[in-house]
C-alpha cells in the first residue's frame, strides 16, 4: 500500500508524521491511524535502542526511573484518547507537530556543564558516564523532580496521540535535567518502546489496532528506517532538517484546519 511512501518519510522524521499522513492523505480514521503509528513507533525505537544500548550511550538507570512517569502518563493518555473528541485530538496533534517543526528547524545549542547536580540524583544513582571520541566523559543529573513531572506529560501526550513523543522526552532530560544531549536522545529512544507498549495495551483492548492496516505501516517504517540509517550519514543534514520542518509545519496547519472544520 502506501508503505513505501510512509517508510521514506519516517526514515527522515519519526512517528509523529505517520498519523497525519494517513489521516490527511489517505482519509483513514484517526483512531486506526494512531494504533498503527503507535505500533510502528515500538518497532523503530526498539530496533534503534538495541544499537545504542550496546554502545553504552543510554543510561538504563535514568531510563528505568523515568519510565515510572512515562508509563503511568501513557496509560492515562490512552484512556483519555477514547473520551476526547477527534477534533480536540486533532488540534493537540497539530500543536505537537508545530513544536516538532520548530525544533527541527533550529540547531541545537550546546548543553551547559558544571552544574552541581541534585541530591535525589545522588540517591538514585542516576549520574553516569558515556564514551566520546575524546574518552569517557562523566556527568551529573539535576532537577530530577522537574524532569519526572515533564516525563509524565510526555507519556500522556504519547498515549493520547499514539506517538513516541521523543522530542518532549529529550526536552525534559536535556533542558531540565541537564543530561548530555547524546545521552538524552539515546535514553529517550530506549524509553519510547516501553512508554508506547504501555499505551498499546489499552489501544489493543479498545480495538484501535487493525492487522490489515498496521502490517504495511510497521514493515514499511522498519524498512524505511533501516534504509534511512544507511542513506542519512551522507546526506546534507541542515537542508534535510529544513525540508522536514516545512513538511511537518504544513501537516500541522492542515491537521488543525481539518480538526476545526470537523473533518476528522
Amino acid at each position: 500500500m502506501a508503505a513505501g511512501f510512509l517508510g521514506a518519510l519516517t526514515g527522515l522524521g519519526g512517528g509523529v508524521v505517520i498519523t497525519p499522513a494517513m489521516v490527511l492523505l489517505l482519509g483513514i480514521d484517526l483512531h486506526y491511524a494512531m494504533g498503527a503509528a503507535l505500533i510502528s513507533v515500538i518497532a523503530t525505537s526498539s530496533g534503534a535502542a538495541a544499537a545504542y544500548v550496546r554502545e553504552g550511550l543510554s543510561n538504563i538507570r535514568i531510563g528505568m526511573f523515568l519510565e515510572i512517569a512515562t508509563t503511568v502518563g501513557a496509560v492515562c493518555g490512552a484512556f483519555a484518547a477514547a473520551k476526547v473528541s477527534p477534533s480536540i485530538l486533532g488540534v493537540i496533534f497539530g500543536a505537537v507537530l508545530l513544536h516538532a517543526a520548530w525544533t527541527s528547524m533550529r540547531s541545537h545549542p550546546a548543553t551547559r556543564n558544571g552544574e552541581p547536580g541534585d541530591r535525589l540524583a545522588e540517591r538514585l544513582r542516576l549520574n553516569g558516564s558515556f564514551p566520546t571520541p575524546e574518552g569517557v566523559r562523566s556527568y551529573k543529573v539535576s532537577h530530577v523532580k522537574t524532569g519526572f513531572g515533564l516525563m509524565f506529560i510526555a507519556g500522556a501526550v504519547s498515549g493520547l496521540l499514539g506517538i513516541g513523543s521523543g522530542a518532549l522526552k529529550v526536552l525534559a532530560m536535556d533542558r531540565a535535567m541537564r543530561i548530555p544531549f547524546k545521552v538524552s536522545t539515546t535514553t529517550s529512544n530506549f524509553m519510547i518502546g516501553v512508554t508506547a507498549a504501555a499505551s498499546a495495551g489499552v489501544y489493543l483492548n479498545r480495538g484501535y489496532i487493525d492487522p490489515g492496516l498496521t502490517m504495511p505501516v510497521v514493515l514499511g517504517v522498519l524498512g524505511g528506517s533501516m534504509l534511512g540509517a544507511r542513506v542519512l550519514p551522507g546526506a546534507p543534514t541542515l537542508t534535510l532538517r529544513r525540508v522536514f520542518g516545512i513538511v511537518v509545519g504544513a501537516l500541522a496547519v492542515e491537521m488543525i484546519y481539518s480538526a476545526l472544520t470537523g473533518k476528522l
Binding site: 518497532a43 495495551g201 489493543l204 510497521v218
Partner: protein, 125 residues
C-alpha cells in the same frame, strides 16, 4: 555471580534486536498470506468500527475463535512486538536482583506492573 552493567547492556540490546526481528518475520509472513487472500482490495478504514472482540485480547488472539487465519497471525506478530519492551523490563528486574540493587528492583517492578495492568486489559474499559 555479580552481573556487570556492561553485560546487562549487551543482553538487553540482543533481546530488543531479536524481539523486533522475530515479530517482523511473523507480521511479514502473515502479511504475505493476507495479500494472497485479500489482494490489494481497498480496505474500509475511513470509519472507525473497532476490531472484533477476539483480536483485542491476548487470549482471543492466541486461541479465541477456532481456525488460524492471516489477520490473527499478523496480530500475533504485533503482540510479540508490544511484548518486546515488556520482556526487556522483565529482564531488567532479574538483572537488578542479581546486582542486589534493591531500589532499582522496586522501581523496575513498578514499571512492569503498569505495563501488565495495561496489557491484561484491565485498563481497557
Amino acid at each position: 555471580m555479580p552481573l556487570s552493567d556492561r553485560k546487562v547492556d549487551e543482553i538487553i540490546g540482543g533481546l530488543l534486536r531479536y524481539g523486533v526481528m522475530l515479530s517482523a518475520s511473523v507480521v511479514g509472513a502473515g502479511g504475505i498470506w493476507y495479500l494472497i487472500q485479500y489482494g490489494t482490495s481497498p480496505p474500509g478504514y475511513h470509519v472507525f468500527r473497532g476490531e472484533p472482540e477476539y483480536l483485542r485480547h491476548l487470549r482471543g488472539i492466541v486461541s479465541g475463535v477456532p481456525g488460524f487465519h492471516c489477520r490473527r497471525m499478523i496480530q500475533l506478530g504485533l503482540v510479540l512486538l508490544i511484548a518486546t519492551p515488556v520482556a526487556r523490563v522483565a529482564f531488567s528486574v532479574v538483572a537488578f536482583i542479581l546486582q542486589r540493587d534493591r531500589m532499582y528492583v522496586a522501581i523496575t517492578l513498578i514499571v512492569l506492573s503498569v505495563l501488565l495492568f495495561s496489557l491484561t486489559g484491565r485498563a481497557g474499559g
